[in-house]
């Protein structure tokens, strides 16, 4: 399974999202570090709308996503942009 697929599966299971998009943005960071060739799975953006985030603060939302993906960070994910929302909150996607 690719890292992207692992991220999608874990988010799906943990958050039962209403909407979700996991986007590989590694190509945008090619060359920023010697080992980023832009073809890998180093940089991701997670957009997620889930009822689980209702009543949670920003740090807790981000932490919930990052803690879920501890193994993926160990396996080479370098950066994770997160756009978390609860249903009814403004999103830009």
């Amino acid at each position: 399974m690719s890292i992207q697929e692992r991220i999608e599966a874990k988010l799906e299971k943990a958050f039962s999202p209403e909407r979700m998009a996991v986007i590989n943005e590694s190509h945008l960071h090619a060359g920023h570090q010697a080992d980023f060739d832009g073809k890998g799975e180093t940089h991701f953006r997670v957009r997620i709308v889930t009822a689980k985030f209702a009543g949670m603060g920003r740090v807790d939302r981000h932490r919930a996503v990052k803690e879920l993906l501890t193994e993926e960070f160990k396996d080479g994910v370098h950066a994770l942009a997160i756009e978390p929302a609860a249903p009814g909150e403004a999103v830009r996607w």
Partner: protein
């Protein structure tokens, strides 16, 4: 506490606003760190930038300290505020400036 976490703790508690980042405020070496620098500079906030690229121990230590796996990390009055996404979101929604002012941080720049 190990030496590195003591060092981090003293920086976090001994400075009102601390940004652990890649590179320096004058020369950020990562786009995410650079965005936070731009926001703080725009608001005219005094802060201490700490370049985690200078030490592997520090780079890992800050992730363990906050239980947050990525850089940058912003701390205000000893409290972890967030990384690039959170700081940018707070700035764009107009929450960051009142948040800093409530904490007693002087915001000299844009109103």
């Amino acid at each position: 506490m190990s030496g590195i976490s003591e060092y981090i703790d003293s920086e976090v508690k001994g400075n009102e606003v601390v940004l652990f980042m890649k590179g320096t405020p004058g020369f950020p070496q990562c786009g995410f760190s650079g965005q936070v620098v731009q926001i703080l500079d725009y608001l005219g906030v005094d802060y201490k930038g700490i370049n985690i690229l200078t030490s592997g121990e520090l780079r890992q230590g800050i992730k363990d300290y906050s239980n947050w796996p990525t850089i940058p990390q912003l701390y205000v009055k000893g409290e972890f505020v967030g990384g690039c996404d959170i700081v940018r979101e707070m700035f764009q929604s107009g929450e960051l400036q009142p948040f800093l002012e409530e904490k007693g941080i002087s915001v000299k720049g844009a109103a």
